[in-house]
């Protein structure tokens, strides 16, 4: 009986871990798609026509501060995405709360 319980418990843990990771992957995958759609054109492409070259976002969360000098926290990045900063446009109204969450999840993967 205890073995059965142990097996059931292990199966549950494996299932949760598997689905949990899959969910995490899809969040980041969606974040990656959003990044390509909304961010990459400026942050990944040097554009001599722009007044200021937007910074690359690799390692964004490795530093203590964002390129703007604000703390490199999820809340600050969320604020930056929604309100814009400097010449970066605001995405308020164009991204849902889930979109912003997934985008930030993806930004965390950029090492």
């Amino acid at each position: 009986m205890s073995n059965r319980l142990l097996l059931a418990g292990l199966a549950w843990i494996v299932a949760v871990a598997t689905f949990g990771l899959a969910g995490c992957g899809s969040q980041q995958e969606h974040g990656s798609e959003l990044f390509d759609l909304h961010c990459a054109d400026c942050h990944e492409m040097p554009n001599p026509d722009l007044k200021k070259q937007p910074p690359k976002l690799e390692g964004l969360f490795r530093s203590k501060t964002l390129p703007s000098g604000a703390p490199a926290t999820d809340d600050q990045v969320r604020k930056t995405i929604l309100e814009g900063v400097g010449t970066m446009p605001a995405f308020d109204g164009r991204l849902s709360e889930a979109d912003v969450h997934n985008l930030i999840s993806y930004l965390h993967t950029l090492k």
Binding site: M45, D49, K51, T87, A90, G93, R94
Partner: protein, 291 residues
């Protein structure tokens, strides 16, 4: 070992291809005008998901045979090729689907006001919350463009504002021209682009030098007045899901408030700056002659 090298090369090529970010979209529409010298069609097209809402706008065409074969009024399908994040785009694989409209096509962009007409005195509110009119700038040559601050397409509004910033900085080096010229950026998005938003946006392009607003205003008007401005200058814009598709237009006004010139796609900051300076200087000369 060779097998792994081959796989590596294929993967490298695949990822290199991804990084070039060439995007392709399907276009369906009617050619409203053709400029053979500029290799350009102006196309009134359906919605192009992921690239552009339904609107009328010019596209470069690289196939000389297509430029020769297609006539204004033809309905076409084509691929829009967009590279470097939309910094460059053109039509490819153009196919005529219907020639019956060849005789009925009319010019795509009609400016209600012609060169020489006086700009309408429609009220706007600037970045300081102050009401302004085109007539407030009499005595100065005025370069006007149209953007919205949330525009995320680097080849559109960010480019226009960046180039205006360069013109502003250059003019500041020549006080005589600086005093006789003015820049005006008008928003397509009056609901979002209120005075505080316009101020924040303007400061970003003025390197936080607020005194620059004395030479470069950022303004919006109420939605009805914005339509009147658009109709006067022949602007096209369509509000979508929190995004605005719009034509890229620049207008130069004489110191008397008359329209001196229009630009749409083919311009450089240097060309605009030269035209603005020349307009101001020629007006100074006229004043000198009269005086």
């Amino acid at each position: 070992m060779r097998w792994w090298k081959t796989i590596g090369l294929v993967l490298a090529a695949f990822f290199a291809g991804c990084q070039s970010q060439t995007k392709q979209y399907s276009l369906r529409g009617q050619v409203m005008a053709k400029d053979e010298a500029a290799s350009e069609f102006t196309v009134k097209h359906d919605d192009i998901p992921g690239f552009m809402a339904a609107m009328t706008m010019p596209y470069k065409v690289k196939d000389p045979q297509a430029i020769k074969d297609v006539q204004p009024g033809d309905k076409i399908t084509a691929d829009v090729i967009s590279v470097r994040g939309g910094q460059e785009y053109w039509l490819q694989s153009v196919r005529i689907t219907d020639q019956s409209g060849r005789q009925t096509a009319k010019p795509a962009v009609k400016h209600a006001l012609n060169v020489g007409d006086v700009a309408p005195d429609i009220p706007m509110v600037n970045q300081d919350g102050k009401q302004i009119h085109f007539s407030d700038f009499r005595g100065k040559s005025v370069l006007i463009t149209f953007v919205y601050t949330r525009c995320p397409v680097p080849a559109f509004c960010p480019r226009l504002s960046s180039q205006f910033a360069r013109i502003h900085e250059d003019l500041a080096k020549t006080p005589a021209d600086y005093e006789k010229t003015h820049l005006l950026t008008i928003s397509f998005d009056p609901k979002y682009d209120t005075a505080p938003i316009l101020r924040k946006y303007g400061l970003a392009y003025l390197d936080n030098h607020a005194e620059g607003f004395g030479h470069w205003d950022f303004a919006s008007s109420d939605p009805g007045d914005m339509r009147r401005i658009a109709d006067a200058f022949g602007l096209e814009y369509f509000e979508g899901d929190n995004q605005i598709s719009h034509s890229m237009d620049i207008v130069l006004l004489t110191p008397e408030g008359k329209i001196a010139k229009y630009w749409s796609t083919e311009w450089t900051a240097a060309e605009l700056e030269t035209a603005l300076r020349q307009q101001a200087q020629s007006s100074n000369q006229h004043q000198g002659t009269r005086g």
